[in-house]
Amino acid sequence: MSGILAYGAYVPRYRLAREAISVPPAAGTGAETRGTRAVAGYDEDTTSMGIEAARVALGGHDLMPDALYLATTSPAYGEKNNSTLIHSVLGLDRSVPAIDCNGSFRSAAGALHIGLFRPARSLVVSADVRTSKPGGADERDAGDAASALLVTSGKEPVIAEVLATASLTMEFLDRWRVGTEAVARTWEERFGMEVYHDLGREALAAAMKKAGITAADIKHVVVASPNTRALRSLPKALKLNASDDFVASVGNTGSAHAGLRLADVLDRASPGETIAVICLADGADVTLLRTTELLTQRRAPVPVAALVAKPAISIGYTKFLEWRGMLATEPPRRPDPLDPAAPTTLRINDWKLRYTGSRCKACGEQHYPPQRVCQQCRSVDLMEAVRPKTGAGTVVTSVVDRLAWSPHPPLTMAVVDLDGGGRVQTEVTEVDGLELGPGSRVELTFRRLYTTRNGIHNYFWKMRPASEGRAA
């Protein structure tokens, strides 16, 4: 049975209020000033957010993917495969392929399509970090997020089965990005909307015909499109009731959006309900799903509504521009971070990517990072691999270091005793304004610490203030 096995989503904590955007909207791009957009933190990108979404999707059950796809229009690296890092952090077997589907917004629908028709379990991760030039529509209307769907066409029971799919492909000009440019150019948004309305209507009709259902059978409608106007208006044009499109609170998250909205629907849907997922990107891809009884037992441990409602950290417009590389600021009079050396890093992948320490088989002492000689009983090479029991821990002492180099000063560091044993000294993210001290609870999160002058993204685990009950 083709369908969805599990799902998860991730929305960053930071929000930019649209009214804080002080560059006036470019003429002809609309003037939405209400609401907020989600902003990937200074230490996040599509890969790290994809990892957070994937950790949610793989939490609460023991189904591991046999293939991994990452769809994004904003990959952290070109040429280098980004899904490989997600693969390694998730601890997937090396025989499991990890493949980037980069470039166009249609890649997200395409990756899902591939996954739904492979018998093995495919983890389809979609993520985007989106903006435009200051004053452009994407800066205002877009948002940053990631979603992950574990899908199959095998024999395993699913939480939502595919009733039918339909796909239309048509060449026309709505948006495009040239070569090395960081942001897209667009045609008049209304033109694209008109074309997408027709494509969406036609593809949905074809899918409903295949499935033998009518519009009245559809309980939930999920629309995703880089054309925000089409995304928002299609359900009304088709006289269907859509779920929250999250544009007002999170923004149009591009590649991640279909998964994000579908996750939200799956958080709330009852068994036996029909969902239409309509992706409009250089064509239309429609997937009709029906939820099963299993859904109620395998909802994501972190619901989308909780991610959206979680107290946001507001950032100012200049900080937003700085984080997105639109505003170059004066560097501190401190040495730049060094490039992580390739051989040095490869040797410690188990620690750096999976937070694997060592436990002394003689006395049980845990060490993070792994040590060969036990700090407690001094046994040599009697270690076994160990990972933190919950991924959370308690602060012993902490410091806000205003002198240290950081892409988002000040740097917050904490000494943390991990639940179940072991201690780490770690950077803490998303502290903004929060007082940390002895007894504070924190949890692991995978981040991009910084990018060196040589363009190397240095990824490692940090802690963030804990929201107990979240997947660790």
Partner: protein
Amino acid sequence: MASNGLRDKVAIIGMGCTPFGVHRTKSTDDLLVDASQEAMKSAGVAQKDIDAYWLGTYGTGVSGITLSKPLKIDYKPVSRNENFCATGSEAFRNACYAVASGAYDMAMAIGVEKITDSGQVGIPFVAPPTDGTRSEMTPTGGFALLFQAYAEKHGVNRDDLKAAMTHVAWRNHKNGSKNPRAQYRTVLDKKTLSCAPTIAGSLSIFDCGGLSDGAAAAIIVRAEEAHKYSAKPIYVKGLSFVTGPGTGQLNPRYDFCSLPEVSAAASDAYRQAGVKDPRKEIALAEVHDCFTITEILLMEDLLFADRGQAWRNVLDGAFDMEGRLPINTDGGLKAFGHPLGASGIRMLYECFLQLRGEAGERQVDNGRKLAMVQNLGGFPGEMVGYVSIVGSALA
């Protein structure tokens, strides 16, 4: 197996120390020439009399050539040492062993650092290829970790602890104001010191030792030879250097309320020197006040204060010039400044002056014959600790 020490086996017959500060017109070479010339003059010896050299520098130069070239040392051994901020003490220690062993008759230990040419804030850091998991935390941040932990463990109100830190800064600045070689010679009032904006945790710039350029040197001979050169030689009574296992950052049993490397070095040095009651036997101590919070913890690790009480003793003035055990009479790292490689020998220089009665208006006169140098390097949890005790008389 034991740390036997070399009580009364070697003596310091001469020392030199440049003023510390921002030396725009002096190079590393100049500082080395200045400090070594002063030390030789103080000992009444010439360069040809010195058989071997130990040069301590953290990052200002590599190899013995950093010293031999400016001094034009003719085909003598020059070792270059590095051990974080205890680099100068490490150079001194190795020179002492070389002389005590009989391998050489006379050795020079010299430390230097040229910090301010880098144009950067903090210590210019030289690191091997990294795996990218090391934090960018500064030393200030690393030592500021002690603040919350100490307040929590001992139930000290954070404002009281900060007040004690301010007292340390105030007193060391006051002491430094009487020292013509100190980097900072202004007496600052406590209000100014306590109101400065924080740069890491509860530490403001006034809680940090000054980073500076400077050099200091000592000339060492066997104790029985000392009077051939000097009427007032200073004898090494205890010499202990300890490197911790570096596990404080991964060991849940470390409480960030003490510096165990310093405790271990202190008890070893006291044993070597035969010191039973440090609070009554030590005339003064030059300690590593890299940050004011460090000095407070050091008082406990050196047994000058009971656990959890140092902050109170500090506020009571126990370690002021007139107190029961004067600390950092020359201004310490705080006011004298901190050229990493030179600092350990600078501390020794103050002990040398004090025990010889040459400290001028900051002379301590409590009748005790021993002085302590305590030097450390690294971060809480990953540290090297050094304690030496020197005295003006043979046992």
